[in-house]
């Protein structure tokens, strides 16, 4: 089985194509507005003349490297290349501002590789039992898992818990704009037909993170410049030490496991994985107050998880013919174009698909570290450009990203979100919490509505109807109440 996979990756000119896929995927991922799905879609053009197995090898390489590439601009410019890299900005950008861009990128790449390799192995060994388990998830369980992602609200900014929850709720409300996901009735559009399809996430994300940052820098005395990421004209690519990486071994392990499991769930994917793992690590950390100030644990959590989700997403695709996410759906359509019948029989009749995907993921995740460092160096050089040129270029990249996702309305939403980011700052609200609400809002409502129907309108059964949902929802409630409970626990301890 391995032999067929190895020949699929290294045979003929396939290896060169894998290298090309890694370069393209990393660059696509790093460019704002070119999501992992779009990267895979762009890669489709290269696969028209390929046989099915090399085609999936090529597309898997693009998929994995694009998720990693998203971290480069998230760290250097606070522009998440892909939505799943949004939590990477929380600690990556402060590190870049403190002159540790190289270390931040090094951690992101290494952790991406660890997460990707872990999930590849899990995919290879546990493909069949894992997808059967995922299929057994009820709508209530899926709601519980999505809600788990929302529980990060309690840890995003512990000093302003009320305003953080307000921000999360605002994000959830933004996700309600447009047609409701089940009945298709229009809500909160205020008569604007262009809002019928809802608010595109990417323009809001780019506006709140990138445009707001440029606006803030406009009136700031000290701007992000050469001395932040570069020394004496050379890129500061000082990598993290072995000791530093060893210190976050458990972070990587936990996030690899959780990221892979979330990746397997249909409709979940890399974005939920990275947000959930960031929240989880913040909770488990001995120094939660340092999260968001520029520590490697935060980057490790986000990047390990989103890459682990890539392997997870391949499990239902290969074993059941169900795409775990949008990028997997594009890959599935590419294979369908070549006449490959996806479904449970695929792996029985053509096991080379699983081994080729596995070997491709392993090779990609290893080579990606080296290749992405080279690409990151080129991107980091951009920091040496004076801000009077760099700032407007960032705005232009943001504009292109927003336009490609949402057209003219997308650009207008990006500008509004950029201005909103300034208002958010003055109101002590939290941009990341707004994004989190927006990302998870529709999914949360959809899963809840379906579970509500299936449980005959019994909310208790929706929340606690199965052991999985009961455990996950209880954990969420504890996480959300923890800021209120913590002072009480401290008080009780003192009294003892």
């Amino acid at each position: 089985m391995f032999a067929s996979g190895l020949s699929a990756v290294f045979g003929g000119g396939n290896f060169l194509m894998v290298l090309l896929a890694i370069v393209l995927g990393t660059i696509f991922g790093a460019l704002p507005g070119v999501s992992a799905t779009m990267a895979v879609a762009l890669g489709l053009t290269f696969t028209y003349t390929m046989a099915p197995v090399p085609a999936i090898v090529f597309l898997v390489a693009i998929y994995c490297s694009s998720i990693t590439g998203g971290s480069i601009t998230a760290i250097l410019f606070k522009i998440p290349g892909v939505p799943s890299s949004a939590p990477t900005t929380f600690d990556g950008y402060p590190m870049a501002k403190n002159g540790q861009a190289g270390k931040a990128i090094g951690v992101a790449l290494f952790c991406s590789a660890v997460g990707g390799l872990f999930s590849a192995i899990v995919m290879f060994v546990l493909s069949k039992p894992l997808s059967a388990a995922a299929l057994a998830f009820s709508q209530g369980d899926l709601f519980a898992v999505t809600f788990l992602g929302l529980s990060i609200l309690s840890v995003l900014d512990m000093d302003h818990i009320l305003t953080t929850i307000m921000s999360g709720l605002l994000g959830l409300l933004l996700a309600c704009i447009g047609q409701d996901p089940i009945a298709g009735v229009k809500r909160l559009t205020f008569g604007n037909r262009q809002l019928l399809a809802g608010i595109e996430m990417i323009p809001v994300l780019i506006g709140l993170f990138a445009v707001t940052e440029v606006l803030k820098q406009t009136s700031s005395d000290k701007r992000l410049s050469a001395e932040d990421g570069i020394s004496k004209g050379r890129v500061n690519t000082k990598m993290p030490s072995f000791k530093e990486m060893w210190a976050i071994k458990w972070v990587m392990l936990r996030c690899s496991i959780v990221g892979t499991v979330i990746g397997i769930l249909p409709g979940a994917g890399a974005t939920i994985a990275s947000f959930s793992c960031y929240a989880m690590e913040n909770k488990l950390s001995r120094y939660p107050e340092k999260f968001g100030t520029g520590i490697i644990d935060g980057i490790a959590a986000s990047e390990t998880a989103n890459n682990a989700a890539t392997g997870g997403a391949m499990v239902p695709l290969l074993t059941l013919g169900i795409p775990g996410g949008n990028a997997a759906a594009v890959m599935m359509s590419a294979l369908a174009l070549k006449g490959v019948q996806m479904g449970p029989l695929l792996l029985t009749k053509q096991p080379e698909f699983l081994s080729a995907t596995f070997i491709s993921m392993v090779v990609t995740n290893i080579l990606m570290v080296v290749i992405a460092i080279g690409i990151a160096k080129v991107f980091a050089q951009i920091l040496s450009i004076p801000y009077s040129y760099l700032g407007p270029i960032i705005v232009m990249l943001a504009l292109i990203g927003s336009y490609s996702e949402g057209g003219f309305v997308g650009v207008q939403i990006m500008v509004i979100a950029g201005v909103l980011g300034i208002v958010v700052k003055y109101m002590h609200l939290n941009s990341a919490a707004i994004i989190l609400g927006l990302v998870l809002g529709t999914m949360c409502e959809e899963h809840f509505s379906r579970a509500y129907v299936m449980n005959q309108a019994n909310v208790f059964k929706v929340l606690f109807g199965t052991p999985i949902s009961a455990v996950v929802i209880s954990a969420c409630i504890l996480m959300l109440l923890s800021p209120a409970l913590r002072p009480l626990v401290k008080k009780l301890r003192r009294q003892k």
Binding site: F28, G33, V34, L42, L162, T163, I165, M166, L169, L170, L172, L173, C176, D180, I182, A183, V185, K186, R187, L188, T189, G191, V211, V214, L215, K216, T218, S219, P386, Y387, S388, Y389, G391, P392, I393, V395, M396, L399, I400, Y403, S404, F408, V411, Q412, M414, V415, G418, V419, I422, V423, Y426, M427, H428, E445, F448, S449, Y452, V453, Q456, A457
Partner: protein
């Protein structure tokens, strides 16, 4: 004071939205038939209700926090607002708003040049000729990379000659 006004504005807006815009069309009869179906207005109404509670608590907190603060006055708010409208941040916002409005009629190249040049000036670039050349160069480079190489469709503009120019550029690559 700004924080207080923003919270009050948000509160009023949410109450208005709750009563008028949560449902903007009738729910179909077939959907209504099943009593187990979750009505489309429930989810946003629950969110708005929770938000209103949070905002009210926040307003109380703002009052408590600023009790006795000499800067917590209408006069200070007025002066702060005036200062904002004279700031570089406001000019930056203005450039972005104009850019988002001219993007459709004038297309990508002109908008890109406008942003790169005007924002460059705002950020204090003194070498005008260099800025002018770089703005033109970067606009074309971005067009070539995204439209020519990555197949991302960029706005061509509705003004005849600008549209023709954009089409010519696309055909070149």
């Amino acid at each position: 004071m700004f924080e207080l006004f923003a919270n009050i504005f948000l509160l009023v807006f949410l109450v208005y939205a709750y009563f008028t815009h949560v449902l903007e069309a009738a729910v179909s009869k077939s959907y209504m038939k099943n009593p187990s179906n979750l009505m489309p207005d429930v989810w946003p109404k629950v969110i708005i209700a929770l938000l209103v509670i949070c905002i009210v608590i926040n307003i109380i907190k703002i009052f408590r926090k600023n009790k006795g603060n000499p800067k917590f006055t209408f006069k200070a708010f007025y002066q702060g607002s005036l200062a904002f409208f004279k700031s570089k941040t406001f000019l930056g916002i203005l450039i972005l708003v104009i850019a988002s409005l001219i993007l459709e009629p004038l297309g990508f190249i002109v908008t890109s040049f406008f942003i790169l040049f005007c924002y460059g000036l705002l950020l204090g670039e003194k070498k005008i000729w260099r800025l002018l050349l770089i703005s033109v160069g970067v606009s074309f480079l971005l067009h070539i990379i995204f439209s020519g190489l990555l197949d991302v469709t960029l706005p061509r503009g509705t003004v005849g000659f600008l549209r023709d120019f954009a089409l010519m550029l696309e055909n070149l690559f």
